[in-house]
């Protein structure tokens, strides 16, 4: 099947079977390899992107479920004020170790901060519960979310 998708503000055409998870369309067809595969079952969050502003696990989201919706991946999140603040905080605090999970972490964090300007630790726990980091960067992720929130409040 041929589909038209809106990815990072651009309209793109792809050829894919209807049940193909969005993850593989992004990675294999569009070459957007920033979105990662970690489990294929919605368990780890490595594949998180935003669909209409909400965090979505692309490994379990068929491509035909996102037609006509705005898709933002890690490659595009830096154009967004919140996404940029998250990336800046991530760099300032040296969050990444191997970095493999970080696209998913950044997308989940950006989704949280879009709706919550003062996230508590409990808010962070629940927003980030679906994202695994095997390298154990959780303490810095938490600190970086607080720092990005603070920066966004200051800039608002």
């Amino acid at each position: 099947m041929r589909y038209e998708l809106s990815v990072n503000g651009e309209s793109v055409h792809v050829e894919a079977a209807a049940d193909t998870p969005l993850l593989w369309v992004l990675r294999d067809e569009l070459g957007l390899t920033g979105t990662k595969f970690g489990c294929g079952m919605g368990l780890c969050g490595a594949c998180t992107v935003h669909v209409a502003g909400h965090p979505v696990r692309t490994c379990i989201t068929p491509v035909n479920a996102v037609l006509g919706k705005r898709i933002t991946t890690v490659e595009g999140i830096g154009h967004d004020r919140v996404g940029h603040a998250v990336q800046t905080a991530w760099l300032a605090l040296g969050v990444p170790q191997c970095g493999y999970c970080q696209a998913g972490q950044i997308m989940s964090a950006a989704a949280l901060l879009r709706h919550s300007t003062h996230p508590t630790d409990a808010d962070i726990d629940s927003a980030m519960a679906g994202n695994i980091c095997r390298c154990g960067t959780y303490p810095r992720i938490r600190a970086a979310i607080h720092q990005a929130a603070q920066q966004l409040r200051g800039a608002a």
């Binding site: 990444p96 493999y100 970080q102 630790d121």
Partner: protein
């Protein structure tokens, strides 16, 4: 398996190399600074020199200075999250007087004859290459100075490099590195004895935390390229159905339905190598498709019939019985002082305990993945591998090519933890490309593949006994450690831990106990065994440090004071006197076991954590301290156990002494990570086998700690040290004290002793 292998049978591993170094003591090839080859017959080599690749210190290999005033540093150690691309580059940059923002990094391909040892495990990269990379940077700086002096026609003693420029002291004239680039690279390389290193007081980057992560910006923007991200024109996507049981073979298959899946192009059988598994692909059937999804669906549609082979009845519950038998009977004695047996038999106060650690899978977030392409008789591989040269050797052998016709590009690793020291997956990609007439093929493992076809941390049962004297201190200590050896992966029939394995915190305990007996039973392996971050230190650290806590309580003593008394006064112990002839491959004189430093981390962690403070109900503090990879670590963990057994970890204090810290921020990151990985395995980590098959499959049944469970506070306390102290390891040694500190804290909070990992739901099942 390869000409590089002195043993002739198994591939280069950290074991063979280090044993080889100690045992062979024969001819060793050393690449010296000039790039020339020195043939030396000498006594045992230690450190990097003991590795086949040795050390290369030629600045022309590692440094390029460009006319646009940028500097490229080649990093030869793979990056798996430890930050080595940043840390080695900053060492070179510092001695080079380069400006960090102008430094870029390229990754060396697999070529140990050019770059020196690239085999990245054992927490060795900085330990082994700090000094060589300093000399590389310093030599390049001297070449810039010579070029400037020649340009100005002044003696070189009148010029000095400073922040990306060379300055003539008398006149204040300056030339930028960019202006000197061409001339500098043509200067002769200084003789090693002539290389002048900086005074550590002048360091700009070493020991500071002012150097941005070299890959940070790419990572947060989704541009960093891991093994799973390689994309080549015309590339095919492959997934492989592998035998579920080690040693299993495909009997017959029907691929009709698989080939009918749109996008599937072909299926290819990969031969199963006979056991031992070594680094060879496991074999099976590969489905090659136009995209990943088609390959996955195609694999699901395969009809496969397997002969499960010799390990078909392996059952890990049954195997626990084997381990129990093993540790409850006399076994090979590896250290014996005094007469522990007699004293234990006669003792009025005898404590005995057994500790179990199950098998573990690495579960790096990036599963194994590799890409290969063959054209004009040349094979190129892109792979996230910790052992680039072993990867190149494997591909060379599997394809029957010459080494010079195989190039292995090392991508970023999305986590390694030891898994990616084994290049079997890169071998699959090479074989599949060959089967497709050289077309580019990328193999990707799914999470299920990764968890079910790993090289596992060996399950271990540790049996300890102590007889206490009238003062409550142990008079006798018996420890039997039963686990399969990693050697079994390389040598058929190898059984029980060898000296490189029991030397990880079992034989080399520095306790002042008059009678000590340590035994190693023979235990077979039924699965692929491989290195897992901190390796046998996990089981040994858990058992020894839990047992010290138990014995302290039995003696009615405070565990901290008791442990300090057990260790005794500060002294430097020759590891050979502790039956440790291995010493992580390091010189016993350069790296003795320093009980003063071990005491130091215990004292620091406990004082920072407020050891002895009054705890609220349900809270407890636990202490554990370990020495591994030439570094000392002590953890104090605070737990809270709720009425229904809910476990939370408000705080961890981890004191760490690795000697001087080259990149303190990355040392901290590694310790944070080691702490969380240690907690993950303590709370959740368990791989079980039934009918030879792994019963777990994904993060639903092989859980990894999530943010909500992670400690709110991890407080790190790095012991200061000058650069005259030899470096210790960083990536692994933070892990071993974590599980025992956690379990000791649970005991303090609840009176329940955990002797079996993972904790899982133990605490909620039966509250005492």
């Amino acid at each position: 398996m390869s000409a590089r292998n002195p043993g002739g049978q198994r591939p280069i591993t950290r074991r063979t190399v280090l044993q080889g170094a100690a045992a062979l003591g024969g001819f060793v090839l050393c690449l010296r600074e000039s790039g020339g080859i020195v043939l030396a017959s000498q006594p045992p080599l230690y450190g990097a020199a003991a590795f086949p690749g040795g050390v290369v210190e030629n600045p022309l290999v590692f440094v390029a200075i460009h006319p646009d005033d940028t500097v490229t540093v080649t990093v030869h150690r793979p990056e798996m999250g430890q930050g080595i691309r940043t840390s080695l580059a900053l060492v070179v940059a510092d001695e080079l007087e380069a400006d960090w923002p102008r430094v870029q990094v390229t990754q060396a391909p697999a070529d140990e004859s050019r770059y020196g040892s690239e085999d990245t495990d054992g927490s060795r990269s900085m330990r082994h290459f700090f000094e060589p990379m300093r000399r590389v940077g310093a030599a390049a700086r001297m070449m810039l100075e010579s070029a400037a002096a020649a340009h100005w026609r002044v003696p070189v003693s009148e010029v000095a490099a400073e922040r990306q420029q060379v300055v003539h002291r008398g006149t204040g004239r300056r030339l930028s590195y960019g202006q000197l680039a061409d001339q500098a690279m043509r200067q002769s390389v200084p003789e090693p004895s002539q290389v002048r290193l900086k005074d550590p007081a002048q360091f700009r980057y070493i020991g500071k935390s002012n150097t941005r992560l070299i890959d940070g910006a790419d990572i947060v923007a989704g541009r960093a390229a891991y093994g799973i991200d390689t994309r080549l024109d015309g590339m095919l996507y492959a997934v492989v159905a592998r035998p579920a049981v080690l040693g299993g073979k495909l009997v017959r298959y029907d691929a009709q339905a698989a080939l009918a899946v749109p996008g599937v192009l072909r299926v290819v059988q990969i031969p199963s190598h006979s056991l031992p598994a070594q680094y060879y692909p496991l074999g099976g059937i590969a489905v090659l498709a136009r995209n990943t999804w088609a390959a996955i669906k195609g694999r699901e549609a395969l009809k496969l019939q397997w002969d499960d082979g010799p390990n078909r009845s392996y059952d890990s519950r049954q195997f626990e019985k084997v381990l129990e038998q093993a540790v409850r009977n006399p076994a090979k004695v590896i250290r014996n002082q005094g007469d522990a047996q007699t004293i234990l038999e006669k003792s009025g106060k005898r404590i005995e305990a057994e500790y179990y650690l199950p098998s573990l899978a690495h579960a790096s977030m990036e599963p194994p993945a590799a890409t290969a392409r063959i054209s004009n008789g040349h094979c190129e591989v892109w792979a996230p591998v910790q052992a680039p040269q072993a990867t190149r050797d494997l591909v060379t052998e599997l394809l029957g090519m010459k080494e010079s016709d195989v190039t292995v590009h090392v991508t970023l690793l999305g986590g390694g933890f030891g898994r990616k020291s084994m290049p079997d997956f890169a071998g699959e990609a090479a074989l599949l490309s060959k089967a497709m007439q050289g077309a580019p093929v990328r193999v990707m493992w799914t999470r299920e593949d990764d968890i079910q076809c790993d090289y596992y941390q060996a399950a271990a049962l540790e049996h300890l006994e102590a007889a206490l004297g009238p003062d409550g201190m142990p008079l006798a200590w018996l420890h039997r450690s039963a686990a399969a050896t990693e050697n079994a992966t390389f040598t058929a029939g190898a059984e029980g831990e060898d000296e490189t394995e029991y030397g990880q915190g079992m034989s080399n305990i520095p306790f002042r106990i008059p009678n000590i007996r340590l035994e190693i039973p023979s235990v077979p392996a039924y699965a692929r065994i491989g290195w897992f971050r901190s390796v046998y230190n996990i089981a040994h650290g858990f058992a020894v440090q839990s047992f010290v806590d138990e014995v302290a309580h039995a003696a009615g003593r405070d565990p901290r004071a008791y442990q300090l008394e057990l260790i005794g006064p500060p002294r430097r112990i020759d590891p050979r006197s502790l039956a440790d002839t291995w010493n992580y491959g390091e010189s016993p004189t350069l790296h003795p076991l320093d009980t003063g430093r071990l005491r130091g981390v215990i004292e620091r962690a406990t004082s920072e954590a407020g050891w002895g403070r009054r705890m609220p109900r349900g809270h407890g503090l636990g202490l554990a301290a370990t020495y591994s990879f030439m570094s000392y670590a002590a953890a104090v963990i605070e737990v809270r156990v709720g009425a229904n057994g809910e476990l939370t970890i408000p705080r961890v204090d981890l004191a760490f002494d690795c000697g001087p810290q080259v990149n303190p921020d990355r040392v901290r990151a590694q310790l944070e990570g080691a702490c969380i990985m240690g907690l993950t395995l303590a709370m959740h980590g368990e791989i079980t086998f039934k009918a030879g098959r792994v019963q777990q499959s994904n993060f639903n049944d092989y859980a990894v700690m999530r943010m909500s469970e992670a400690p709110r506070e991890i407080r790190l306390h790095l012991q200061p040290a000058g650069f005259d102290v030899p470096l210790g390891g960083v990536g692994e040694p933070g892990l071993p004290p974590i599980a025992p500190a956690l379990c000791n804290a649970i005991f303090a909070a609840t009176g329940r002793r955990i002797r079996r990992l993972p904790i899982g739901s133990t605490l909620s099942r039966q509250t005492s």
